[in-house]
């Protein structure tokens, strides 16, 4: 097979990945810096017989993809900060009702309207805690255009497999930069499809809280009639206020993610073997960190990096293990301190430093090198 190599934008790679993953349905609302995802899919999806919808607002876009997902569609929406805030209630609905969907948040500076055209990584905590109530989510932070494509495919798979919203957190840099991408053939990647349940309709319950297995979501209109509600519900799908059902439902929403963390987690370790300082960085910032590490090593400072690709659920175990052998950890992120809180929680015994620059510019390798030197002398 001749390799299909293209120069493309991160946002385009997300759209390309969605198509390869078998996306059936996109609904969105225009917002910088994510609009290219919508623009590209508005052309690609109809050409392959799929649905593209520009809705009246962000909330409607989120509702529409959930409606389609209940019909069995593989769905995606794309947005940025203000839009992500608006979508939160329906994201919670997706968590509660266990409806698969992929939500792309091309992060820009915030809060509020913030910096529409400039990058930030300020929505990491929002991805986890943005909607009310206890729940778990999966969130992914690609650091290149190529990774944006492959991680979008993985996001669709995880969404279907665990019946959960999956958030792809890119940022203005990754979303807008152009890089070489190797576009795979569908046969080269794993794609999980929506399936009918393996039990007949009369035996089908849309939820299962105790077996440890995720019940497939039956596409509506195929003979499996059931009820979906954002109220706490039992395994039959109908609302309940029984204490044991409430507790089981709550446990399940967390457990189905955390008990499968080995399958969901993804990370990269870079030059950690002999490192005296460990950088924790993700997304576009990890690129600067990698360059800074080469510069630091050239100057005789042994630095390595841990890069979460799945950022939620957080890689507690890996950070904890690394912190046993590397005593200084430097968290670099384009926010005022979000992932550092998780690192402080999990890295027992290491001193945790933070480099948080939020000025509309990406954090540069020089910024990081200066901080490495400071940490090294500390």
């Amino acid at each position: 097979m001749s390799k299909n190599i293209k120069l493309m934008q991160g946002n385009e790679a997300v759209a390309e990945g969605a198509v390869i993953a078998g996306c059936d349905f996109f609904a969105g609302y225009p917002i910088t810096p994510s609009s290219e995802v919508a623009e590209i899919l508005s052309s690609k999806l109809p050409k392959i017989g799929k649905v593209f919808l520009q809705m009246e607002d962000e909330i409607a876009a989120m509702g529409a993809i959930l409606g389609a997902a209940l019909g069995g569609a593989k769905t995606i929406t794309a947005t940025s900060g203000p839009g992500m805030s608006l979508k939160q209630e329906n994201i919670g609905y997706a968590s509660m009702c266990e409806i698969p969907c992929v939500i792309v948040n091309v992060m820009r500076g915030g809060p509020s309207t913030g910096l529409p055209t400039l990058p930030a990584q300020g929505d990491v905590m929002q991805a986890k805690w943005g909607t009310h109530g206890d729940h778990a989510v999966i969130a992914i932070t690609p650091s290149s255009v190529n990774e944006s494509l492959y991680e979008t495919i993985r996001a669709f798979n995880l969404a279907i497999k665990y019946r959960t919203p999956v958030v792809i957190l890119t940022d203005e840099i990754i979303g807008h930069m152009r890089e070489k991408v190797v576009i795979p053939d569908k046969s080269e990647v794993e794609v999980i499809d929506v399936k009918l349940p393996d039990v007949p309709p009369e035996k089908y319950n849309p939820y299962n809280y105790t077996s440890g297995k995720v019940t497939p979501l039956a596409p509506m209109g195929e003979g499996y009639r059931y009820h979906v509600t954002g109220l706490i519900h039992g395994e039959t799908g109908f609302p309940s206020q029984k204490t044991d059902i409430i507790q089981n439902a709550q446990n399940w929403l967390i457990d189905k993610i955390y008990k499968n963390i080995k399958d969901i987690e993804k990370f990269e370790e870079f030059q950690t073997d002999d490192a005296d300082i460990l950088i924790v960085a993700y997304g576009s910032t990890s690129r600067s960190a990698r360059q800074a590490i080469s510069m630091a090593r050239a100057a005789g400072i042994k630095v390595g990096m841990f890069r979460p690709i799945t950022i939620w659920p957080f890689p507690d175990e890996q950070i904890s293990n690394l912190s046993k052998k590397i005593k200084k950890i430097l968290v670099v992120e384009m926010n005022m301190g979000q992932v550092i809180l998780e690192v402080q929680r999990t890295a027992c015994g290491s001193k945790v430093y933070g480099l948080h620059i939020v000025n509309g510019e990406p954090i540069t390798p020089d910024n990081i090198l200066a901080k490495i030197k400071e940490v090294s002398e500390n």
């Binding site: 190599i5 120069l7 529409p116 840099i173 930069m177 152009r178 070489k180 690129r287 990406p362």
Partner: protein, 183 residues
């Protein structure tokens, strides 16, 4: 990192500089199998204001995607020239148009002042294509990619019916650069 070369097109929104950057990155990445990253930045408005489009080209993987030590800069407005000249390396090369940039009090690096606007007006009949002329100049002066590669990348992104027009613009750029190189 030693072979990392940084290019910056700067001017105002709507001049087509982002496209020029994309074509350069495409030529390097797809037709010469190098690594290339193209980024851009602009204000909240889509048109007007100062904008820049940057391309990093290297044989090694490119990590930090933005330009910080610029080897080659093209400026098509005085405002962009003043705003973005600081990152140009001392031995960097700056390419400007004779009519659009006239105040060189902030100049840095080696300066090439060319008649790009004048040539566009006289040979193309309009200013559309100024971005491609400047791209031709940049390619000729830097030698970063072959004429053949840049032409292929250009043709891929030119609307139907405008192939000859753009090819001509590119060649004007090559010629102007050759002239100025000769001194």
């Amino acid at each position: 990192m030693s072979d990392r070369i940084e290019f910056r097109f700067s001017g105002s929104g709507g001049q087509g500089l982002i496209l020029a950057g994309i074509i350069l990155a495409d030529a390097a990445a797809i037709y010469e199998n190098k690594n290339a990253v193209q980024t851009q930045s602009y204000g909240p408005e889509a048109r007007g204001g100062s904008s820049k489009s940057e391309v990093i080209i290297s044989n090694d993987p490119i990590e930090y995607p933005k330009a910080t030590k610029v080897n080659y800069m093209v400026s098509l407005t005085q405002e962009a020239f003043n705003k973005y000249i600081n990152d140009v390396k001392d031995d960097g090369i700056v390419i400007v148009d004779k009519e659009l940039v006239t105040d060189f009090s902030k100049a840095k690096g080696k300066l090439y002042v060319l008649d790009m606007v004048k040539s566009a007006r006289e040979e193309l009949g309009k200013l559309l294509g100024l971005n491609i002329i400047s791209l031709g100049v940049l390619v000729e002066i830097s030698g970063i990619v072959s004429h053949d590669s840049i032409e292929k990348a250009l043709m891929k992104r030119v609307p139907k019916g405008f192939e000859d027009y753009n090819k001509k613009a590119l060649e004007i750029g090559f010629r102007l650069a050759k002239e100025v190189k000769k001194g």
